[in-house]
Amino acid sequence: MRVRGRPILGAFGGLLFGLGLSLVLLTTGVLATNSILLVILPIALLVLGIVWAIIAPLGPRTPPAGWRERPS
């Protein structure tokens, strides 16, 4: 049994979260137009989104009733 979330969804979610965060920080004047963080944030959060989905820390980690493991 392999337990993990949805890495592709995590990648898109992380990328959009990074873009949204960059947009909010830019339009509120926290970051200037020349800040490299505007590029780093979406890329970093894309990677973090994948890692987040692989770890999948939300919800139960035990398999549902009736689950059978691969015979050894």
Partner: protein, 195 residues
């Protein structure tokens, strides 16, 4: 796009200021200090800015819509004065995380060493609240006369803020579902023991 460029250019010239206004001690957005001077006076808001009253790290807030009376000169030349014809070149650019975008550039030859004018502008509301790093330079006969930079911000709040908040909410939901475990069978008992 041309209108945006003109508006930004006006704002830059003004914000970067070319001026004759009194300066705070040692302040100047240009290098070498005082080599080029610029001022701007906003007719509706009454705001006045000068290149000699700011440091490169300062943020100059300007109205989104106004008419600005600007003036600029090379050191030692009064407004309206002329001198020997020479080749000039320069540009004003918006600094981006990677590279920069040219807002305006100039070239050819000129006898004017100081100039003044009035410019009416109306900048898009999308640009409101964004801290823009601008830099510019001016050369004569291929030799750099002055360069400078300053932050400029248009007063108000950009509607893009709500777009950003919307993206955060939607992507937050996506991350929530992405972080929930999914149980995948690698090998089921039935696969090797059919029936």
């Amino acid at each position: 796009m041309a209108k945006l460029r003109q508006g930004l250019l006006a704002a830059v010239v003004i914000a970067a200021g070319m001026g004759i206004a009194p300066a705070s001690a040692g302040a100047d957005v240009t290098t070498p200090p005082g080599e080029c001077v610029a001022t701007g006076h906003w007719l509706n808001s009454g705001q006045t800015e000068s290149s000699t009253a700011h440091n490169p790290s300062d943020v100059i807030k300007i109205p989104a819509k106004d008419t600005v009376q600007w003036a600029g000169n090379i050191k030692g030349y009064a407004l309206g004065s002329q001198g020997p014809r020479r080749q000039i070149s320069g540009s004003v650019e918006l600094d981006l995380p990677i590279g920069s975008a040219t807002i305006d550039s100039w070239g050819k030859s000129s006898v004017r060493y100081a100039n003044t004018g009035q410019h009416k502008y109306d900048l898009p509301s999308l640009l409101k609240g964004i801290k823009m790093k601008l830099h510019g330079h001016h050369s004569e006969n291929g030799k750099l006369v002055c360069s400078g930079s300053v932050y400029m911000e248009i007063s108000g709040t950009s509607p893009l803020v709500w777009g950003g908040v919307g993206l955060l909410v939607i992507s937050g939901g996506m991350l929530f579902f992405a972080g929930r475990p999914v149980f995948r069978k690698l090998w089921a008992f039935e696969d090797v023991n059919p029936g």
